[in-house]
């Protein structure tokens, strides 16, 4: 049997060619699978994980802060945050419109936040803090439309009302890229301390943020929770601050611009740290809006500035006890050397006037401190020379930061010949030495430096390190000042209050015996015949007063600086007195303490100092009038008399009523 078959060989040949092509294709697919699944497998696996896993950050509640008596300064309260998962966002314009509509922020601000969030790739970002209930409800209702939005319970800092502890506690802010690079515990968008205690003790207060890992499907719907890494709450922090005193300081300052620092002179434990004007700390409790930030930074009074540790002031007459101690140590003066003050003196061919135009008469060291005689210290400065004055200033810690835990501390300025040549390019001019002798000229200190310097005067000569957390002070550094010298200076400071002619003798009849030193530092050159209260506010002198109590074994030292306060004894001294009265006086209510020490203008027809921006309460409004307290206060006459004894370098204040 024979088959009749076509000649299929050409067809078969061509079929083999096709099979060869197909075989090549199959090998290509096999290689492709190899590359995807074996070579690149791990990379695609993590891509798949990113697809399905969402890490919801769980912010750690920050630690609470308590004052020295255990009173809570800083706590947390619950709040709702809005998180955005940028990868899930399909239409940012629509999302922005929605967020604007529910009033998360103005339109351009919302856009800016979305844009910023989109830059951090797959990590969720906090878009808004502190959502109102209506906003939470709106977002929940539109959940299906906006997979990228997630409401997340969190906590927010809760502070005492007002600005009492604003600078002390400091601000929170979003972690900076540099901080992120440094610390593996931090993550983008997290709030960390940016200043104050929040920053200094970020490690203690911050805690460790956690994570909630959830599985989501392609629509962004949460399918299940996979893993929870609970956040570790920040630890509580006990500080040396005395909140009751801090409040008293706020009330006594009555909205004036300046700073109050109080510390325990024995170890440097800070009891009050106040700077005014302050910001509303609640602004920083969550994520700050740039508009508010702009507002704060453009305020001419700079409320973000912590004047207690950052502002520089000429110390004025408050430097006199320090230079007196230095002069005794170095033998420039003995306690009994005298100078005759006629009210004016010519040194290096220039006239220098004592603040008391008629002159103080014969002055020894203690008296010169009591009456704040400029002439005495002009001569002392001349005899010491600038380099010795500078060394005394440095002995008391001026020119270097005190080392308090808070960041941004200023070191101040101790001028000398070397400084003048370096910075100004000219040798020191001898006439300036005389100004420095009474705390004027280029010498600049911070309020906390002044407090530390005075602590050394009254604690036996040790330079303590001011600190906010117990045992963070370190060992005090002895200044080597002889005890005898310190005793003379202290007696002088006691006479400032107790003496017949003391510059703060109006405080002499208070229920608590205190001592201290006034200082009125010049802001601009004096105009003759113009009274301080007639000057525009910004041209008035700074009013300083450093005081302490009890006299024999001082436990609290208060340093008050009132910017453009005009006059130390009538403006700054009552503030310090109120605080010391609060600390050591008979148990009285807050208002009564105020009544005991009214600022001087209440006995006169002086206008109250202008209230800084936004604050309507001048001292005249918040404090009871002098008339009301007069019968109860036998010292009011003395206080009124002290009007005529204002210390005022180079100006005659006698004419005041």
């Amino acid at each position: 049997m024979t088959f009749v078959r076509d000649d299929l060989r050409p067809v078969q040949r061509r079929a083999v060619a096709i099979l060869a092509i197909v075989a090549v294709g199959l090998v290509v697919v096999l290689l492709r699978l190899w590359v995807l699944q074996v070579v690149q497998g791990p990379r695609w696996r993590s891509a798949a994980e990113n697809n399905r896993l969402r890490r919801i950050p769980l912010e750690a509640p920050r630690g609470m802060v308590k004052d020295v008596r255990g009173e809570v300064i800083l706590d947390n309260r619950p709040a709702y945050q809005l998180l955005l998962f940028p990868e899930e966002m399909n239409d940012s314009v629509r999302t922005a419109a929605f967020l604007t509509r529910i009033e998360i922020a103005p339109a351009d601000e919302v856009r800016a936040r979305l844009e910023k969030a989109s830059r951090t790739s797959h990590l969720p970002s906090v878009i808004a803090d502190n959502l109102a209930w209506s906003q939470v409800a709106s977002i929940a209702a539109h959940r299906a439309e906006f997979h990228e939005l997630e409401i997340h319970p969190a906590t927010r800092r809760s502070l005492p009302p007002g600005a009492t502890v604003a600078h002390l506690v400091g601000q929170l802010g979003e972690v900076s890229p540099e901080q992120l690079a440094e610390s593996p515990n931090l993550r983008p968008g997290q709030l960390v301390g940016r200043s104050g205690l929040e920053r200094a003790y970020q490690d203690v207060l911050g805690g460790t943020p956690g994570n909630l890992v959830v599985v989501v499907d392609a629509l962004g719907k949460q399918v299940s929770a996979l893993d929870e890494e609970p956040p570790v709450a920040g630890r509580p922090l006990g500080v040396t601050i005395d909140l009751a005193l801090q409040r008293e300081a706020v009330e006594a300052m009555a909205g004036q611009v300046g700073a109050v620092v109080a510390l325990d002179p024995r170890d440097g434990a800070v009891r009050i740290l106040l700077s005014q004007p302050a910001f509303d700390p609640d602004l920083f409790a969550g994520h700050l809006e740039p508009a508010r930030w702009q507002e704060l930074t453009s305020d001419p009074l700079n409320p973000l500035h912590n004047r207690a540790i950052q502002a520089l002031y000429p110390p004025g007459s408050t430097i006199k006890p320090l230079f007196a101690a230095g002069a005794l140590r170095d033998g420039v003066r003995t306690p009994f050397d005298t100078v005759y003050c006629t009210g004016a003196v010519t040194i290096y061919g220039h006239p220098y006037r004592c603040w008391l135009a008629g002159g103080h008469g014969r002055m020894a060291l203690e008296q010169a401190i009591e009456e704040s005689c400029d002439t005495y210290f002009y001569y002392t400065a001349r005899d010491a020379g600038i380099d010795r004055l500078a060394s005394w200033a440095r002995t008391f810690g001026f020119g270097t930061p005190t080392g308090i835990e808070l960041g941004g501390e200023n070191s101040g300025l101790v001028p000398d010949d070397a400084w003048s040549r370096r910075v100004r390019g000219q040798p020191w001019y001898g006439g300036e030495t005389i100004s420095v002798g009474i705390g004027q000229g280029p010498i600049l200190v911070t309020p906390i430096q002044l407090a530390v310097a005075y602590a050394a005067l009254i604690n036996g000569g040790d330079l303590v390190q001011p600190h906010l957390v117990p045992d963070k002070g370190g060992a005090p550094r002895p200044t080597g000042l002889p005890a005898e010298a310190l005793a003379h200076v202290r007696r002088g400071m006691e006479m400032v209050v107790a003496g017949d002619r003391g510059t703060a003798r109006r405080l002499g009849n208070l229920p608590v015996r205190l001592a201290g030193k006034t200082g009125t530092s010049q802001v601009m050159r004096k105009k003759d015949g113009v009274k301080w209260y007639e000057l525009p506010w910004e041209q008035r002198h700074h009013a300083l007063f450093v005081a302490y109590a009890p006299l024999d074994k001082p436990e609290l030292l208060v340093c008050v600086v009132v910017e453009h306060g005009g006059d130390a004894a009538s403006v700054a001294a009552p503030i310090a007195a109120r605080i010391l009265l609060r600390a050591f006086g008979p148990q009285v209510k807050q208002g009564e303490v105020a009544a005991a020490v009214p600022p001087i203008w209440q006995n006169t027809s002086l206008p109250p100092p202008p209230a800084p921006k936004g604050q309507t309460s001048g001292p005249g409004e918040t404090l009871p009038s002098a008339a009301a307290v007069e019968p109860a206060r036998p010292s009011s006459h003395a206080a009124a008399r002290s009007l005529t004894q204002q210390e005022h370098p180079k100006q005659e204040p006698r004419t005041r009523q």
Binding site: V11, A15, L36, Q37, W44
Partner: protein, 358 residues
């Protein structure tokens, strides 16, 4: 039974098993358990049909191919009138409670028609008239499918035409003319026939960053699925990409991604091997065929199926554009499964009758 090719049957059964498992997984993801069971029924019916057709005589079928061809063209034309618009195309009609995709069957008939036509040209090369007739026979249903519009399905007619012309034999001049003609046709299609979204798909393939959330997104999700399967896979029903529905069209076009994700390189390579075995056996049948009808049918069917497999897998693994070409037997769809099984039944018939004397 004994005269059938066991390797071809074995590969079909292996692929069917994989199809059932993969469809079971995607059915779970889509919360539609009926899908996997229906696919299993189609596969069972398909294998039965395969065996039934393999006992028919392919030469008889070829003889009736003109009639079948006319009927299928008529049905394709009728679709424009009677088929409802579904997913943007008029490709489906309801038959009882089922929806049928006539283009699948029209393709089998087209292969059969091409094979029958080839028998008329016993020369070693096709002449001019033969080229035109073969081209017309393939182009008519393809154009009707293109107009439905179903680009993916229409594209599957192209390899059939190429294989028919190649197997019949063409001069180089003719190939050049064909390529030019094809280029003109593609350009015309690009300008006038392709929908914007279809153009976008092609462009996106060329530049995946172009549209990360549309077709580029689909392909990226598919690559993530395949790649994240790594060597041994995530386990059946445990593929995150499929179960959490990141994978698009996962029971049809992207079913291979589900399989590759859950069974890894091992499973994907085994499935690829099963397809390779199937394709290889079809070409072995083409070589063993006793006549030109059988050889051309098997060659065209083999090349058509191979290109569908390669393009689909290429699309899933990101080396070919998303064209909507499904994976034979694995992708969900009764019409597709049945048409594929009929084709393979005819191939078996060619094998069974390879020594038969007319």
């Amino acid at each position: 039974m004994r005269r059938l090719d066991p390797w071809l049957l074995l590969s079909v059964l292996a692929i069917s098993a994989c199809a059932y498992l993969a469809q079971g997984s995607t059915a779970r993801a889509l919360a539609a358990p009926g899908f996997a069971h229906r696919q299993l029924v189609w596969l069972a019916v398909g294998v039965a049909l395969l065996l039934l057709v393999s006992f028919a005589d392919y030469r008889v079928l070829a003889r009736f191919s003109p009639l079948l061809y006319v009927v299928s063209i008529a049905v394709l034309l009728a679709l424009f009138a009677i088929a409802p618009l579904r997913g943007g195309t008029r490709a489906w009609i309801a038959v009882g409670s089922y929806t049928v995709q006539p283009s699948e069957f029209a393709r089998v008939v087209t292969i059969l028609g091409v094979a029958a036509l080839a028998d008329e040209y016993q020369q070693s090369r096709l002449n001019f008239a033969a080229v035109w007739r073969i081209t017309a026979v393939v182009a008519a249903p393809a154009l009707l499918v293109l107009l439905q519009p179903d680009l993916g399905m229409a594209l599957t007619f192209v390899p059939i035409l190429l294989a028919a012309l190649w197997l019949g034999g063409l001069r180089w001049r003719a190939w050049i003319a064909l390529v030019l003609g094809g280029a003109v046709f593609v350009a015309a299609a690009w300008l006038w026939f392709l929908k914007p979204y279809q153009r976008e798909r092609v462009l996106t393939f060329a530049d995946p960053q172009r549209a990360p959330y549309s077709s580029g997104y689909q392909q990226r999700q598919s690559k993530i699925a395949v790649g994240s399967g790594e060597i041994t896979g995530k386990g059946l029903h445990s593929g995150t990409q499929s179960q959490l529905r990141f994978l698009p069209a996962q029971y049809t076009d992207f079913i291979f991604a589900v399989w590759a994700e859950e069974t890894g390189f091992v499973g994907a390579a085994l499935l690829l091997a099963a397809y390779a075995l199937l394709v290889m056996r079809i070409f072995v049948v083409a070589l063993a065929a006793r006549d030109r009808v059988g050889a051309v049918f098997a060659g065209c069917a083999g090349f058509g199926m191979s290109t569908a497999i390669l393009i689909n897998m290429g699309m899933v693994t990101g080396i070919a554009p998303t064209t909507g070409i499904t994976l034979p037997l694995l992708s969900y769809g009764g019409s597709s499964v049945l048409a594929t099984c009929i084709t393979l039944g005819i191939v078996q018939s060619i094998w069974r009758l390879r020594f038969a004397n007319v």
